[in-house]
């Protein structure tokens, strides 16, 4: 089993690479998808204790969640002055509010009198002013204290001393980001290539069509890492086309994979068990059949075409008509592929049309062994159309199936497969004698990048 290892990170699966598939695209491919950026980041094991230790999780609360940029909600949650959104992360709670037609602000969700959370729960709400339910102290939506019952008893409360505590708040791509660190660097310095790349796929011109939030039975990092590589496709999804996926590391905070859909290479499976999909290989018609869940017009691939070209063309018409958008010049790649950008520490953005998701993974309160997974479908909006009010989230508990979420359709069983290994993995961390997980140099490099950046945050004087 031993391989020569003088140039670690340079090996790739045999067969055509993503760049080859993009070169054969029937349309122009947006330049960011042509970029390739990978560097070998090391091959040391990652300690299992990072996923299981309460002490590590407590330190993450203080040094990671208390200091990193994270999206709290979409701008479309805050359409009118007074619309608010409560976002909770570990023990922290933040109120994001539209305080003026062109201004969004964020505040610590805690009364400046005796500390009570002003708004309970999480999610979208509305109040023309913010009033503490305990003694009735009240602030305007700009966070200024306006009403203080029995004012005579508080001569020590001065002008401006008891306003709500401001939290840094910026927007990008239609998302509202917050950062609990008053000294945080601007969001723009944190987004790496995202603004440039997503100028080709503007997420602010998308609407939330579906939001599913589920409890997952693993640490937040293990949960998100189940979505950072396509190496698991063969075993977890019984799918032939993960091995040729392209992985890019754009910097400390941003990474990406591009996973082609609708094709695969027989050679890439040469050392996978059995003859499946190798002998005999899949025909183009069989590949098209695998894509039928998208709702295609064609059942067979016409002579001279490929499953990929036929599926992309059917989806241009079908999705274009459904959304009222002209997709005729959109590349096969954007139409079909699973293109996944990750923003440290816990956010995923997909620029694709058929695969248009956003993910967010968080600790589930202070439980080191479970996490919250927010899954959104972001649908492109026709030109000039206004954002409708986002749908309420569908909540799934840890033992529920994604097939119970109305609107997920064919994705339900896929996400059950993606999350089906997590309880076993979280349990396995604790019984392993090996003390660490081992990562592939290329296919799992994005996971290592996250841990390296996490280490920088965990160092006491980072940033």
């Amino acid at each position: 089993m031993t391989l020569e290892n003088s140039e670690p990170g340079t090996a790739r699966a045999p067969g055509p690479a993503v760049a080859d598939t993009l070169s054969a695209d029937s349309r122009g491919v947006p330049p960011p998808l042509r970029e390739q950026r990978y560097e070998f980041l090391g091959d040391e094991d990652i300690p299992c204790s990072r996923y299981t230790s309460q002490a590590f999780a407590d330190l993450e609360t203080e040094r990671l969640w208390g200091r990193c940029w994270q999206w709290a909600c979409r701008e479309e949650h805050l359409q009118d002055v007074g619309d608010n959104y409560v976002y909770n992360i570990g023990p922290y709670s933040v109120i994001v509010v539209r305080s003026a037609p062109d201004k969004i602000q964020a505040f610590i969700n805690s009364c400046t009198h005796r500390g009570t959370r002003i708004l309970g729960g999480e999610g979208a709400g509305y109040t023309p002013q913010l009033t503490c339910p305990f003694h009735g102290w009240s602030w305007n939506v700009a966070g200024e204290l306006e009403a203080l019952p029995a004012r005579w008893d508080f001569p020590h409360v001065g002008a401006g001393t008891h306003n709500l505590q401001a939290v840094k708040c910026e927007t990008w791509g239609g998302f509202v980001f917050i950062n609990l660190d008053p000294d945080a660097r601007p969001l723009a310095q944190y987004l790496d290539v995202l603004p440039e790349h997503f100028s080709h796929f503007p997420l602010e011109r998308r609407r939330v069509r579906l939001h599913v939030q589920k409890v997952l039975p693993a640490n937040w990092k293990a949960s998100q890492e189940a979505f950072m590589e396509a190496y698991h496709n063969f075993e977890t999804h019984n799918a032939p086309n993960g091995a040729n996926t392209q992985y890019d590391i754009f910097g400390k905070f941003v990474s990406r994979f591009i996973h082609n859909i609708g094709n695969y290479s027989v050679e890439s499976l040469q050392d996978y068990p059995g003859d499946k999909w190798r002998n005999p290989p899949l025909t183009e018609n069989e590949l098209l059949q695998m894509l039928s869940v998208f709702g295609l017009d064609h059942e067979e691939v016409p002579p001279g075409e490929t499953a990929r070209s036929v599926a992309a063309e059917d989806l241009r018409r079908c999705i274009g008509e459904a959304l009222g958008i002209d997709l005729s010049e959109v590349s096969d790649s954007l139409m079909l592929d699973s293109i996944e950008y990750h923003l440290f520490p816990n956010m995923f953005f997909f620029p694709g049309i058929t695969v248009p998701m956003v993910y967010r993974f968080r600790p589930n309160g202070d439980d080191v062994d479970s996490s919250l997974f927010d899954f959104l479908i972001l649908e492109p909006l026709p030109e000039g159309a206004e954002h409708p009010e986002p749908p309420e989230p569908i909540y799934l508990d840890v033992e529920q199936s994604y097939t119970e979420a109305e609107g997920l359709e064919w994705l339900g069983p896929v996400y059950d497969e993606d999350t089906g290994n997590l309880a076993l993995q979280q349990q396995g961390f604790k019984t392993s004698r090996k003390r660490g997980i081992t990562l592939g140099n290329y296919q799992e490099s994005r996971i290592r990048r996250v841990h390296m950046t996490l280490d920088e945050f965990m160092a006491e004087n980072s940033e």
Binding site: D80, Y126, T127
Partner: protein, 107 residues
Amino acid sequence: MSDENYCRVASLAELPQGKSMSVEIGEREILLCHTSEGVFAVDNLCTHGAARLCEGKLKGQRILCPLHGAAFDVRDGAALSRPAVRPLASHRVSVEGDDISVLLVDE
């Protein structure tokens, strides 16, 4: 209206989907809410602070109190979030043509 206890309170034209409005039946204030699932009627006064819910906001199937942001499910009046813990009284609604009529359940 076949049942004389139903009281016509508004026209559907006044209450597009996504909107709420208060009406009076006798001296009682009732909140009508037109959601994606139909027209619903609940008491207009929040069970926590007695604020008028018609001055709050309808989001999906929830009405949000303007004072503390408490949420109630307009379909059955259930209190969904603090500081409200007691449900709103929920009333029967009949929509025939353009007429919205309400039958108070507890009178």
